[in-house]
Each structure stands twice: as C-alpha cells, then as structure tokens.
C-alpha cells in the first residue's frame, strides 16, 4: 500500500463486509506527541476471540477462494516500521475497532495520500452504509454521510452533481485540516 488513504479504503471494506451500517473513521495527527493515529470503528458482526488472536497473520482470511489475507498484516507492518503499533478490539455482535498508530515524523511513515478520494469512493459505492469521518491536525473537520443523506432526501448519493459536491466538500475540508502540502 502506497499511502494511508489506501489502507483506510482497504480496512473499511472489511467493516462493510462485516455487515456494518455505520463506520467511523478518525485521523488525528499530533505533532507534540509525534503521533499519527488512525481509528476505524464499525458496528458489524465482530470477531471471536480466537479469530481476533490470529487476525494479524497473513494466513488468516474469511474468504474461501484462497488462503491469504494481507490487508491487516500490511497495515500492521507499516505501523511497526515507524515504531508504532496496531491494536484491534472486537466483540461478536457489537463490532470491531482498529487503532493504528504511526510515529508522525518517522521517515517510513506512509504519506496520507488522497483521503478525500477514499471517503468519496466509500460513500458513493456503499449508499446503504453510513460513514462518519473526523480529522484533526491544524484544525478539525467532520464529515457525516447521515447529514448528507438527510439533506438529499430522495436524491441518491450516486447522482452526478451530488458526487461532485461530495468530492469537493471533502477535498476542501481535508485541505483545511492538513494544509495544501502533503504531511
């Protein structure tokens, strides 16, 4: 994975496949603590203790077509390469929360990438799932598809003008938080 935005897209897919109706994504950069923290929490089906204990192994997957699953191991490797860590908490029937911590200033910390595009893709491709995103660095930005859908009424998020609005809204908000330059 080239950047953090692609990890978010990848991990959020796990939440969607777990039957979540709401996925919360938090991205918090803290210069003083030299930390970049990504939290993805869902209300999906959750995992058993046994599955949770081996979920960081590349040879764990719920898919039946082949025997490897690399999404979580790749993210764990990227966190650990910066001296950070990956924690996953899960309860059957309640959901799963994943917390990835990177050392902010570490040379091996992946760039953020196009966070707006990841959130727009998630929103548009999964109209029946809601996403709540909050980012914090220089400033704070919050995005909640429940508000967007309430404002839209019967108009779907896949309507072209709406897609354009969502992309631009996210781009502006994220630029405001993290600045124009890649951090």
């Amino acid at each position: 994975m080239r950047d953090i935005s692609l990890h978010i897209l990848d991990i959020a897919e796990n939440s969607i496949r777990a039957g979540s109706s709401l996925v919360r994504i938090g991205l918090h950069a803290d210069k003083e603590r030299d930390e970049l923290k990504l939290v993805i929490g869902d209300n999906g089906c959750g995992m058993s203790k046994e599955l949770l204990s081996r979920v960081k192994s590349p040879f764990t997957t719920s898919r039946t077509t082949r025997k490897v699953g690399l999404g979580i191991p790749l993210l764990a490797a990227n966190c650990e390469a910066t001296g950070g860590r990956l924690d996953i908490e899960s309860e059957i029937g309640k959901g799963t929360t994943l917390t990835a911590v990177f050392q902010f200033s570490h040379i091996d910390r992946p760039p953020l990438g196009d966070i707006a595009e990841t959130l727009a893709t998630l929103t548009i491709m999964n109209p029946s799932v809601d996403f709540v995103f909050s980012a914090k660095y220089n400033e704070a930005f919050d995005y909640d598809t429940r508000q967007i859908k309430a404002a839209l009424g019967d108009v779907p998020v896949t309507q072209p003008d709406v897609m354009t609005f969502i992309r631009e809204y996210l781009k502006e908000g994220i630029k405001q938080v993290f600045g124009g330059n890649e951090i």
């Binding site: 897209l9 990848d10 897919e13 727009a120």
Partner: protein, 125 residues
C-alpha cells in the same frame, strides 16, 4: 467554503430528473477492490468509470465493486457483464484506458480486445 446547504439546491434541481431505476438486467461494470486491487491502483479506475458513466448519462449501466477476483497479479481488474453476452474481463486497467472501454464497449458494444485477459495471456508468454 462548501456547505451542506448546497445539497438542498442540488436536490431541488435534480429531483425532477431522477429516473426510477428500471427493473431488469442492465450492463454491470465490476471493479475488484480487495487488498490486491487497491494496492494495484483500483481506486482511480473505479472513480474514472463512475465519472465516465455519469458524464455520458448512460442509463441502465451500473458500476459496482467486488472483492478479490482471483488473479491478483493482473489487478486492477474490471469485469463487464452484459445481459445475454459472455463476460469480458479487462486486466491491468489504468484510468487512461477507461475512456476507450466505456466508449467502444459499453456504448458501442465492441470489447477492447487488447485490454482483455485473453489478449494479455496470449501476448505475455
């Protein structure tokens, strides 16, 4: 700064234009979006497909995502399902290829042979 109030305007403007999605089979364009696809660059391909279909106002064409299609080395993979026709699988797709796929295949019904898995396998041995 954009505000959610703009959605109100979009809503009023577009509510009249929305078609009730026709029941029955249309063309389905499916992008593999598992870890392998995402790492290989499927996100911009998906975005380009959604945009192209929206731009051309194609009716009865849906763009969806799926998990791992099974040939991870050939990702990003795009599959096209048309009713009554054989599935067409495009491999190693990038956003620049999307315009041709939509124009020649989805609109005009002629698959872009040199982007397909069959062509790729024949010519990279």
């Amino acid at each position: 700064m954009k505000s959610l109030q703009e959605l109100e305007a979009i809503r009023n403007k577009t509510l009249s234009e929305i078609d009730i999605r026709k029941k029955g089979e249309g063309t389905r364009i499916v992008v593999g979006m598992a870890t392998c696809g995402i790492a290989a660059g499927a996100r911009p391909v998906l975005t380009a497909l959604v945009d192209e279909v929206a731009k051309r106002k194609l009716k009865n064409v849906t763009v969806t995502q799926t998990g791992c299609i099974g040939a991870c080395r050939l990702e990003p993979i795009v599959e096209v399902f048309e009713p009554g026709k054989e599935k067409v699988t495009y491999v190693k797709v990038n956003p620049d290829m999307v315009g041709r796929i939509v124009a020649e295949h989805i609109v005009n019904g002629n698959p872009v042979t040199e982007y397909t898995i069959g062509y790729h396998e024949e010519n990279t041995k």
